[in-house]
């Protein structure tokens, strides 16, 4: 079985795999960015948290 041989199939799949990889990378970045924003915004739920505000937005 010559699986190592470059088949037309592999070239076709390369584009698809790259796109899926970029998509997943983008998703990770998005979750990271939203986490940073959420953690740095004032919140009213946890009184001991450093970003606690008696009313959000204060």
């Amino acid at each position: 079985m010559a699986f190592r041989e470059e088949h037309e199939l592999h070239t076709r799949r390369r584009g698809r795999n790259m796109a899926v990889g970029l998509l997943l990378g983008g998703f990770v970045l998005l979750v990271f960015a939203v986490s940073i924003v959420k953690l740095s915004q004032p919140q009213t739920e946890d009184i001991h948290a450093p970003n606690y505000a008696s009313e959000a937005g204060e």
Partner: protein, 313 residues
């Protein structure tokens, strides 16, 4: 599995673009736009990163329902000229793949919207996907000539979801935006259905022109255009509207009524003479009509943000 069948199964392997097409990118664009307007018109400011993430979730959710719709409608899509080139009927994507993508993206988009924004917005998105994929696609589309009236609601939810992302709830304003798209959809699609009649007949879908004939359809288009006038003007008298919106609505509704009146007065001889020119122009105009309504709402929101809004009521 023989060697021949092994290589054959990879012959039509879908490319990334084919999967993207399952998500109906053109419908997604409208969803992104109306959801963004709903979000930015809301009285609560949203952090740009959260706004971006939330709108992305709404777009992916809409795309997922599009993939589920293509999965279910693959039999009729193969019959209709307008839809024959879609990924499933053209053989580029397997039905099972479309179903898997639709379900996965539905769950993912709803879950992420719940985490990024709030549970109310996520619940609304989940309901929208269910409404479009199950209630409309699987049931009403093939069951009643009023399918478009009911289906229009699915397209009308995005601005409500956008508003819910910002406020965590709903109100008079998002409901009026909902009503605007809901009442706009039937005349928009019936104008298209008038000249796509043969397609729907072939697929055995009870669109109004198929089930009740073109004369009744023309009356319905005019009736809905009349109904659309007060619905379109109504947001002007809420916190998201203003003098600019009111002025725009008056102009656009005048053009709409003239177009609908022309459609009402036409008979089949006139249609045969110019090959649905009036209907096609009316269809094109309805797209501009809705786009301008939401653009001006965005403009009003920007003016309010800059404190330049006219205090007119």
């Amino acid at each position: 599995m023989s060697d021949a069948s092994w290589s054959k199964s990879f012959e039509h392997e879908a490319q990334f673009g084919d999967y993207l097409e399952l998500l109906k990118p053109r419908v997604m664009r409208l969803v992104v736009f109306t959801a963004a307007v709903g979000l930015f018109c809301a009285p609560v400011p949203v952090h740009p990163v959260i706004a971006f993430a939330a709108i992305l979730c709404i777009a992916v959710g809409a795309g997922a329902s599009g993939a589920l719709n293509m999965w279910f409608d693959r039999d009729i899509d193969a019959v209709m000229k307008r839809t024959q080139a879609r990924p499933i009927p053209s053989g580029r994507v397997q039905p099972g793949e479309a179903l898997a993508i639709g379900l996965t993206l539905s769950f993912l988009s709803v879950m992420m919207l719940g985490l990024f924004a709030n549970l109310f917005a996520a619940a609304l998105l989940a309901f929208t996907i269910f409404y479009y994929a199950v209630f409309y696609s699987m049931w009403l589309k093939r069951a009643t000539p009023q399918n478009i009236v009911v289906g229009g609601a699915a397209g009308a939810f995005p601005p409500m979801i956008g508003w819910a992302v910002a406020t965590g709830g709903t109100g008079l304003e998002p409901l009026r935006l909902f009503a605007l798209i809901l009442i706009w959809t039937p005349p928009h699609f019936w104008a298209l259905a008038l000249w796509r009649n043969d397609d729907y007949k072939a697929a055995n879908i009870p669109m109004l022109p198929v089930a009740r004939g073109p004369v009744v359809t023309r009356r319905y288009i005019f009736g809905y255009a009349l109904l659309l006038v007060p619905v379109s003007v109504a947001p002007a008298f809420t916190s998201i509207g203003g003098a600019l919106y009111f002025g725009m609505a008056v102009v656009l509704n005048t053009i709409l009524l003239i177009g609908a009146w022309r459609i009402l007065r036409r008979d089949e001889a006139a249609v045969a003479a110019d090959r649905f020119r009036t209907e096609k122009r009316f269809f094109g105009f309805t797209i501009v009509y809705l786009f301008l309504h939401f653009t001006v709402l965005l403009l009003e929101a920007t003016l309010r943000g800059l404190d330049l809004s006219l205090n007119w009521i």
